[in-house]
């Protein structure tokens, strides 16, 4: 592990026991662009996520958070190191993971309902059955009235929620979420956060959650990890969040312990954000 990893205080009951859902061991990722030197986006770094654990990843923009999720999903092959999923070395795509992409990933030629239903039909579920379940999930994410809309007729936040339903309907063991609430307003973010926590509490998937909102990261997670500014980004901080569950993502922000955690994490994150910012201003 890294040298700078923060050791959790002894009194915290961490989900230490239990097998690992995801283990990124010393992975490094480079991008080769013709005519330019190889860009080393992620330096050798490690991240372990236990079964049922909710881990948030924060870091300055462009540091490599999406890249890390892509490697976990099996969409990117790391140049070095290994990716292990439930103890097995990952080859090809990660079939145990559901991935909610940062960018729009819905099929523009399918309605919201069909976009969700197709995720089940691919696995052999009958059409009517798939549609019934899809409808149920769209209702859960608050889109019951929008089932027949095409993606271009939905707002950015609504599209994200269709994406969420599309991922959750398959019941993946591992959830990869890349700024899922990015385009939502502050209130809806909190509502969606609470919704996500409630859904998660039912079957406790392992979650890797990328966000640029530190408060959100703390409110939702069991652990918050910080990535350093790229290139050669690494995980440089690892903070267990010892706030009691079940949580209300709005009320928890008033907890004094929340503020302590926020201060600790922000102190370290700030330095990284300044680095990125400093690089890009003349």
């Amino acid at each position: 592990m890294q040298t700078a990893v923060q050791r959790p205080p002894a009194h915290i009951a961490l989900p230490d026991a239990g097998p690992l859902a995801v283990a990124l061991n010393d992975i490094s990722i480079s991008f080769a662009v013709p005519g330019r030197p190889v860009f080393k986006a992620v330096a050798p770094t490690s991240l372990h996520v236990r079964e049922g654990e909710f881990v948030s990843i924060v870091g300055p923009t462009g540091c490599g958070k999406s890249t890390l999720l892509n490697a976990t999903a099996g969409l990117l092959r790391p140049a070095g190191g290994t990716v292990t999923v439930f103890g097995e070395r990952l080859e090809g795509l990660n079939a145990k993971a559901g991935y909610l992409f940062q960018q729009d990933a819905l099929m523009p030629w399918k309605t919201a309902l069909d976009n969700v239903a197709i995720a089940l039909e691919v696995g052999g579920t009958r059409r009517e059955e798939a549609r019934a379940q899809a409808k149920e999930w769209l209702r859960k994410v608050g889109l019951a009235r929008f089932v027949d809309r095409y993606p271009h007729e939905l707002s950015g936040g609504q599209r994200k929620r269709v994406g969420l339903a599309q991922v959750l309907v398959r019941g993946p063991k591992i959830l990869l979420m890349d700024e899922p609430f990015g385009p939502l307003d502050a209130q809806t973010r909190q509502i969606m956060g609470t919704l996500l926590l409630n859904l998660w509490a039912q079957d406790r998937k392992a979650v890797m959650f990328v966000t640029h909102d530190l408060e959100e990261a703390i409110a939702l997670s069991d652990r918050v990890v910080i990535m350093s500014a790229g290139p050669e980004a690494r995980i440089i901080g690892d903070f267990p969040i010892d706030l009691a569950r079940p949580r209300d993502t709005a009320d928890i922000r008033l907890d004094p312990r929340f503020h302590e955690l926020y201060r600790d994490i922000w102190n370290q994150l700030k330095a990284e954000v300044v680095k990125t910012y400093g690089e890009e201003t003349p």
Binding site: F101, L106, M107, K110, I118
Partner: protein, 262 residues
């Protein structure tokens, strides 16, 4: 704009053109005709001729032949374009090997092929269909190729994360994307199918709109030429309406302002 108002304005344009034509060809201005009847005929004459063609029923045979050729050229050309478009887009090596030949074939003026097709396929409808196919094929081919290539990598990654295999990717991702590109060029493709048919008929045949126009030209029957052209133009308009209707049905998922007509 209100559709009735639009229709009215469109009608006005036709009226103005016909008016100028009629006056120019029948009213003497300074001892001379602006549009001598021998070269330009007159709208009234052309109208009479069109009416005769329909009244006698002789036009239907020619229309139906041209329509058959157009439809056949369109479907055969499209089918070929779709198959090869997909094949080339999914197999970059094949695309790279054939690239110069595709460009050469596409740059060839199709009119020079017409006599060859007549030699091979005779003077019947198939030589005209072949000419139309060579036009339609490339339009559809390039659009399908582009449509498959331009699938958003994120949509593709998302579909693969769902566990789609190649066949499912084809059905749910590549095909709809290619189809939308193909449809954006549908008007052009149908237009070219018709051009192929008419040019083929013009260059040698015994029936069809192109044949009618050619016959009229052969005896300096300007009225006949204009009547043929008028019927051809009206025919294009009707086909175009049909295509627009199909397009609206199949591409409901596309944002309206982005709908472009190729």
């Amino acid at each position: 704009m209100h559709p009735v108002r639009l229709l009215f304005l469109q009608f006005l344009v036709a009226l103005a053109v016909i008016g100028i034509w009629q006056i120019g060809s029948t009213v003497e201005i300074g001892g001379d005709y602006l549009l001598p009847e021998f070269f330009f005929s007159t709208p009234v004459e052309v109208g009479k001729r069109v009416w005769q063609m329909f009244a006698s029923g002789m036009i239907w045979k020619h229309l139906s032949i041209t329509l058959t050729e157009t439809v056949l050229a369109f479907f055969i050309g499209s089918a070929g374009g779709v198959v090869f478009g997909f094949w080339f887009a999914r197999k970059p090596v094949v695309a790279a090997v054939f690239d110069p030949y595709v460009k050469m074939a596409n740059a060839l003026p199709r009119v020079v092929l017409a006599p060859i097709f007549m030699l091979w396929l005779g003077l019947g409808i198939w030589s005209k269909v072949a000419l139309g196919v060579t036009l339609v094929f490339f339009i559809v081919f390039f659009n399908v190729y582009q449509g498959v290539k331009e699938v958003s990598p994120v949509v593709l990654a998302n579909a693969r994360m769902m566990g789609m295999n190649e066949r499912q990717l084809f059905r749910s991702v590549y095909w709809p994307s290619a189809l939308s590109w193909m449809f954006s060029s549908l008007h052009t493709a149908v237009g070219f199918a018709l051009v192929g048919a008419v040019v083929g008929e013009y260059l040698g045949s015994a029936a069809g709109l192109g044949y009618l126009i050619h016959q009229a030209e052969g005896v300096f029957d300007v009225t006949g030429v204009f009547a043929g052209m008028f019927i051809l133009a009206a025919f294009v308009l009707v086909i175009d309406w049909g295509v627009s209707g199909i397009e609206r049905r199949l591409l409901v998922w596309r944002p309206q302002p982005a709908a472009d007509h190729g």
